[in-house]
Assembly symmetry: C2
Homo-oligomer: 293 residues x 2
């Protein structure tokens, strides 16, 4: 079956790279907004009998869902035989149970919506807490690309004599995997969350690593509070300025500018388009997409 890769707005560069690396055809969707805020969407590529790969990263997800559903359903109306979703960043995976009565379990609800409209899902390093696998919430087949090897590769190539730093206990297995690949030590901080935007950070004492360059790794940076606090703490413990290497750089508000002022470098993968994008994941995405098409 012939395969076509279609970007939702803002995902053109990633879709182009995936098409190049998979050999699939690049295609186009026309979208615009009417003055009243409604979305117009039109498939410009022939889709009848084809396998369709929609590319839409899902940071700031609410306004993106309607165009995405229109694109998926209109593709089926045009005769597409399979419609899959590449969401390099997958939203709404944090609220995976009710902490208080009446709460919307958004991880489950959002996953149910995507499962209803797509045949398969490919994403990168989803931010799962208590969910052990995407299969717990998605009813469609999915593939999660692990970013630890990509971050390890970039660190190994770029930073001399690193020590890998994890921002919270949750990150421990992930941080350990990066450090192990590099055969370097690692440290994991203790994070106490005080509201949506405030955190307190503690770090174990550093033995024999003080001459190394601390490299913070994290799966997602949003307000950047955690990384900023951690960075400030690292500057009191290490001689060298820290480096931050993250998977998904959401960097809301002043997060990026603040981190840049404290760090020697701030880099991210290109799962969310941003000035800090340094690590390309399109090859891994292309490889994961191919078995589904």
């Amino acid at each position: 079956m012939s395969v076509v890769v279609l970007p939702l707005p803002g995902n053109e560069a990633m879709a182009q790279r995936i098409a190049e690396q998979s050999g699939f055809d690049p295609g186009r969707i026309e979208t615009r907004h009417f003055p009243d805020g409604e979305t117009y969407l039109r498939h410009l590529s022939p889709l009848s009998g084809r396998s369709v790969v929609l590319v839409c990263t899902l940071d700031h997800p609410d306004a993106k869902l309607v165009p995405l559903l229109f694109a998926a359903r209109a593709a089926r109306d045009q005769g597409a035989r399979r419609v899959g979703l590449v969401a390099p960043y997958l939203a709404y995976m944090r609220q995976d149970r009710q902490f208080h009565d009446g709460e919307a379990v958004s991880a489950r609800l959002f996953a149910a919506q995507l499962s209803a409209d797509f045949d398969w899902l490919v994403t990168v390093e989803p931010h799962l807490h208590r969910i052990s696998s995407l299969n717990d919430v998605f009813t469609i087949p999915s593939a999660s690309i692990h970013a630890a090897p990509l971050l390890a590769k970039w660190i190994g190539k770029t930073v001399k004599n690193p020590v890998v730093i994890g921002p919270d206990q949750e990150s421990r297995p992930w941080v350990a995997a990066v450090a192990e690949r590099l055969n370097v030590p690692f440290l994991v901080a203790d994070k106490t969350r005080i509201g949506d935007r405030e955190v307190r950070i503690d770090l174990p004492e550093v033995d024999g690593a003080v001459d190394r360059t601390p490299v913070i790794v994290d799966d997602v940076v949003s307000s950047g509070r955690t990384l900023l606090e951690l960075t400030k703490l690292l500057r009191t413990r290490f001689d060298k300025r820290p480096v931050s290497a993250v998977v998904h750089g959401l960097f809301v508000e002043e997060a990026y500018a603040q981190l840049r002022s404290e760090c020697a470098a701030v880099v991210s993968t290109n799962t969310v388009e941003h000035d800090s994008n340094t690590i390309d994941v399109s090859g891994e995405i292309a490889a994961s997409v191919m078995p589904f098409c």
Copy 2:
């Protein structure tokens, strides 16, 4: 079954009025946005075994759909027996067929999504073109409140010696209904649309109505281009400054300020919250909701 009326953000005043006029219980939903743009939603009212009325007007619909779906599905998770939607303004009813290959037929797609999540729908004067009834696109029972009587009542009470003006041929039956109720003459303009924002307006010659006050009625005002052009034309034909009475006042960008500068008055119903709201439709909504609960 006991009934609870719950507003999505921005719909608190309408929900309160519906609850007062129906005798149903008012309830509350907590919502907030995380710094990364994800929505947190929690039902604060007991919903188990109850009939739930969600109130959410759907201007600028894309960002509203996710919270609305979370609210509906979380209500069912809490044990609600029925979940209905009051959308005083209903979006996406214009694109009701493919004008070009590959277009998303958003009226059908949006209606299918709401039909999947709600048991019934109440709206006011949906902007249907080629669709003759909401039943053509919704698979759930629905009620459409006709606004012509409400506009006629307001005009009759407020404007002496009016002539009712329709902005395009599509509005003819609607304008005729308003004029008939008032027992006054009406005129219908010819509109030629040139792109999303530009229109040309022609009006038949006025016989014996030149001393009347022209009252433009329309179902929805978005960019306001049509009404503004019509208003300018009316000022060359009538001595008295026109009045504009519309159902759904979206008034994007400078639409309201521009219309106000040309008109003696610009009024709307409270289906979309706006400074121009003068005509209350909550009583009619309450009456239409009751049979569904």
